[in-house]
Symmetry: D2
Subunit: 145 residues, 4 copies
């Protein structure tokens, strides 16, 4: 796949994280379920949580390191749907593939094994003005622990 563009990658190391989001009324649609695009907002919450937990806040990455993490690819598979006030658990993983970060997300109802959705996002590092950047070394080191 296109996001695997390096032979010397770190794909055998993985960071993991977990978080819970509660569905807002704003996120439901006239079908009564969570609108499909909102899962990508949940994915954002989940990967921010992972980065904050293992490294530092994404805001600090933007402000201190002058780096951005634009999305280059996003996917979601919808298995069962979620309703207003449901608590969704997201299990997130992160791997480095060459110059790219690859996050996967697994969404279940909290306290249940039943899958609601799963998905992935692929990101690159970029400078403030959009130029591509390498994965920061201190970020790589997190994966080597």
């Amino acid at each position: 796949m296109s996001e695997s563009d390096s032979s010397s990658n770190h794909s055998d190391r993985v960071l993991r994280s977990s978080c819970v989001v509660r569905v807002r009324y704003a996120e439901t649609d006239a079908m009564g379920w969570v609108y499909y695009a909102c899962y990508f907002q949940y994915f954002e919450v989940a990967r921010s949580e992972l980065i904050r937990e293992h490294w530092k806040s994404y805001r600090a990455i933007e402000e201190e390191d002058g780096l951005r993490l634009p999305v280059v690819e996003a996917r979601c598979n919808y298995v069962s749907g979620a309703r207003y006030e449901d608590e969704l658990q997201l299990l997130t993983t992160m791997r480095v593939h060459g110059a790219r970060l690859r996050f996967t997300y697994n969404v279940t109802l909290l306290g249940s094994e039943a899958k609601v959705a799963d998905g992935l996002t692929v990101h690159c590092f970029a400078s403030h003005d959009g130029k591509p950047r390498r994965v920061p070394l201190n970020f790589i080191r997190l994966l080597e622990k």
Copy 2:
């Protein structure tokens, strides 16, 4: 009211505009109607249209004039509700009150007199770094025609 903070205002002059938005599925909620916060997105579309029609694009104001138009107050009254695929007509007015712009919005179903909602937003001019700015003279002149 707080937005009327100048005796030498231009509140007797008004710019008017009209636009139509079609309700997206994303904007509905589990009640089957447009989610209440989405009307403020429609208001944004309507005032961008008014500014573009009478002056220039709000993007040009940001880029060429280095100005922002942050919202200081927003209100909406909900009269009847709107559904997916409804075409909503927004009639918009703009007045200058001292250093502030005041927009009003009247929302009806296209081709009908039935009111869906009405509202207002109040804005000030600010520089890129958030400092208050006067209303640009060439903008004032639009109102004097």
Copy 3:
């Protein structure tokens, strides 16, 4: 004001609640701040929390009582703005005015006294098919404690 439509109201009794929301990247705009309409999503989170804490989940009100709480009026004053990853504290109050519920919201940065915004929403009770309903008695009783 229009939302005060009864002499036998319960406006002297008030329910209070507090909650914290963390700003998502999705909720910021190109100015770098939280987009103005998103505060109304935070207000929704806050009043759901208040209702859940004092009575039961709003979802149960919809499903068990067959009731809806459509918004009839919404307002927000924007004082200072919030950024990505800020934790916002919302202090919420609820009063009954005749057949209407009136919520107020006060938004500050968590751990600070600095006001970010305040606002209000007014709601009525309605049946599944949109007909107006009285405030449920067991809800009134919450206010009499």
Copy 4:
């Protein structure tokens, strides 16, 4: 791939449509670009347009035929990014694969060849209460013209 689950499909027939959306300020994020999840809202606008143009409004499908079109899979590749007030052209195709509809989307800046993004969504037909349904015959016939 999972969405190709029938040998007797109609994948050699395709419906095409085109539409334009203008980027709202609400859809931008603090990076200054359109937030990645918003492209899925644009995809919704584009496929509603295609269905309305070739058959009837999706709202009529819900109301007259008692059918829903839940999303089972969604993907987007982000090539260059879009800014506030950009006009985006979406070229959309639709194919039937067994019991599923497959839409593809190609997003460019209006009046330019430069690709902004592309993506796909896969949908099934379901009844009001979520049970799977076949593709309606009168919908199939649209593809046979």
